[in-house]
């Protein structure tokens, strides 16, 4: 029987390619807490997002991230299961206790629970849920929980998982059925993954609509008596009813993760198309990319690792879709023939394409969308410019733009300041060529 330390070593190592961040916590005290607003709870998501440590690759380590078990019925080609001889599982109590210890040491902010599929998706999920239930109701932990759903899990378990977690994710791994079949042929792309992602959206929306109604009633009768009655009613049905019906669930939404570069010929465009679909269809909050790294003893051991620069460019382009709200078709012109992104910052490429045959941008006249096209101007500085213009302010100097947060080094070639362009585009082509400061991504 392996010790808890041994389990953390092996199961932690097995989960190291999973990406997560507690900075995604729902930082709001606006709503009543998911599990009621009493002092006996421990933990807080409203002020989460603090990184308590960083690994030597610079990634923040703020969650207790291990697999629940590494025994798996699948054999995805890129996965450690082929080579890892030591198979083990936590027990729910052991998992919850270990996490609480770490939380009391102020070294983690929350939980990221993931697992291999031991026996069946439902059986493993049941056990994972038991660990989270213990955390929520024995140890009273109210902080951040990211629950990784297993492919093919039943809907009733998804419902339970949603009601206990702040964030849920199902790894898509590849952008389409064919690519997934190439690297994990036992998984059914549409049924095991896409359908589950759609369920997550439906369950969340339905609950939150009802929660809104409860909140309305609550606001109308916001008395202690009413509050007491609600809590008592919930207690009668055990912990399940102890939860506030009025609290929105899954505040940090659903996310997904892709293995980049494992499937032959899967392009950046394929991946971004899937993500774009996710933002539109399943309320995807964000996507994570994990560069493929060959593991000794797996069928893909001989394959070349994917470059970290590629991963970085995907994050940059995803940022344009997610934060700038660009449409994927706006970005199409920067992909090469194979559908991959060129080296360098995608926004710089986009700007050099866009401004080839267009006038430069005058910050005193440009629309919000035009401003956003200029490298070095993001949504915040663009909004500041528009706000100041509304107050009749005229941008005449470089300094004016700098003080609202514009990165002049990048922006200048595309701007007309006081009627003049400060420099030539050519001077900046070296910026485009490759100034990727790798890895400063997640």
């Amino acid at each position: 029987m392996p010790s808890t330390l041994e389990k953390i070593r092996v199961l932690g190592e097995n989960s190291k390619y999973d990406i997560c961040a507690s900075t995604a916590s729902s930082r709001t005290d606006k709503y009543p807490k998911l599990f009621g607003d009493t002092n006996s709870w421990i933990g807080n998501t409203a002020s989460a997002g603090i990184c308590h440590s960083y690994t030597p690759d610079g990634r923040c380590m703020s969650l207790f991230k291990t697999l629940y078990t590494n025994k798996c019925i699948y054999n995805c080609k890129y996965c450690f299961t082929h080579s890892c001889k030591r198979k083990m599982s936590f027990t729910p109590e052991e998992y919850a206790r270990t996490f609480m210890k770490l939380y009391s040491m102020n070294v983690v902010e929350g939980v990221f629970i993931s697992s291999a599929v031991c026996g069946s998706a439902d059986k493993t999920t049941e056990e994972m849920l038991e660990a989270i239930r213990l955390l929520r109701f024995k140890y009273n932990f109210q902080g951040y929980v990211h629950f990784k759903c297993l492919p093919g899990v039943s809907q009733y378990l998804l419902k339970e998982a949603i009601s206990l977690s702040d964030r849920i994710s199902i790894n898509t791994e590849a952008s389409s059925k064919d690519y997934l079949a190439e690297i994990a042929d036992q998984k059914d792309f549409n049924n095991d993954i896409i359908t589950r992602q759609r369920w997550l959206k439906q369950i969340r929306l339905k609950h939150n609509d009802e929660a809104l109604k409860v909140m309305k009633d609550f606001k109308q009768d916001n008395t202690l008596e009413y509050q007491g009655k609600m809590i008592k009613e919930r207690r009668e049905d055990g912990y399940k009813k102890f939860r506030w019906d009025g609290a929105p669930i899954l505040n940090s939404g659903q996310t997904t993760q892709f293995v980049v570069g494992a499937a032959e010929s899967e392009s950046d465009y394929d991946l971004l198309k899937r993500i774009d679909w996710g933002y539109r269809e399943i309320d995807l909050r964000r996507a994570y990319f994990s560069s493929f790294i060959p593991i000794e003893g797996t069928p893909l051991a001989g394959k070349q690792a994917a470059s970290l620069a590629r991963e970085h460019r995907l994050y940059q382009t995803d940022w344009l879709l997610r934060i700038y709200h660009y449409k994927l078709k706006d970005l199409e012109e920067i992909f090469n023939e194979e559908g991959n992104l060129p080296k360098g910052d995608p926004k710089m490429h986009l700007a050099s394409e866009y401004f080839k045959d267009r006038n430069l941008v005058d910050p005193n006249q440009a629309s919000y969308r035009e401003l956003l096209l200029v490298p070095g101007i993001g949504p915040i500085s663009a909004k500041r410019i528009i706000n100041l213009r509304a107050k009749k302010f005229v941008f005449k100097r470089r300094q004016d733009l700098k003080s609202v947060g514009v990165v002049l080094k990048r922006a200048e070639p595309y701007l007309l300041i006081n009627g003049h362009n400060q420099t030539t585009l050519n001077k900046y082509f070296d910026i485009i060529s490759d100034n990727v400061s790798q890895r400063e991504i997640v």
Partner: protein
């Protein structure tokens, strides 16, 4: 400076989009260890837009001070390592130059609302506590005495009793397990945990230091 105030239309000092408001400055600057009261009088005379413009010398100065204050409290929240006893008393050591103990205590209080939090400040040699009601006390005794006193009349709490084992090794094992050697990036690592963080009480014997100072193979 006076010339600037008189001649410029405040809207032309575009820094109004950034920096801190006058109230924020007045409220927070006294936390700085090098604060002097005349600074507030000075700030009161200057329009906010100038204070917000990162280009003016006074703004540079107050922004630096504000940055130092918030950095110190944030680092303390990140890197203070605590313990909890089975009576629900959470305790640890901090090293705070500026007056940000209340912020740090409140951070822990939000996470452990039913516990008493005791933090010993190495810099002032004083222990500060925050109780369940959020009331802060400053005590002139060493941490151990304060924790003992605070625990005295409190009942044993089973779920805290459950976690009375050493967690140091657990964290070290978890930390080592997360490292992907193919992605090692010492430069980024050093940026995220700068040298001076290793001087904080919680980090002095932290595992991060071993990874920073040695190659991973040496470590194993």
């Amino acid at each position: 400076m006076r010339k600037l105030i008189e001649e410029k239309d405040p809207m032309e000092v575009v820094g109004c989009a950034r920096g801190h408001s006058c109230e924020e400055l007045i409220h927070n600057l006294p936390r700085h260890c090098k604060f002097y009261p005349a600074l507030i009088q000075h700030i009161n005379k200057i329009p906010e837009v100038i204070l917000r413009n990162s280009g003016t010398p006074i703004a540079k100065k107050v922004n630096r001070m504000m940055r130092e204050i918030s950095k110190e409290s944030y680092r303390a929240m990140q890197f203070t390592r605590t313990e909890i006893n089975n009576r629900g008393v959470l305790f640890g050591i901090v090293s705070l130059k500026h007056k940000v103990m209340d912020r740090v205590l409140n951070y822990f209080h939000k996470r452990w609302p039913e516990c008493i939090i005791c933090l010993y400040n190495e810099h002032t040699h004083k222990t500060s506590t925050i109780d369940e009601k959020g009331i802060i006390h400053k005590i002139d005794s060493p941490l151990k005495t304060v924790v003992e006193k605070a625990s005295k009349n409190r009942p044993l709490i089973p779920y805290f009793d459950d976690i009375q084992f050493s967690g140091k090794e657990i964290f070290e094992t978890l930390y080592s397990s997360q490292f992907i050697s193919e992605r090692e990036n010492q430069k980024y690592f050093k940026k995220m945990i700068p040298e001076k963080c290793y001087e904080l009480p919680g980090m002095r014997s932290g595992i991060e230091k071993r990874f920073r100072n040695k190659k991973i193979n040496d470590y194993f």
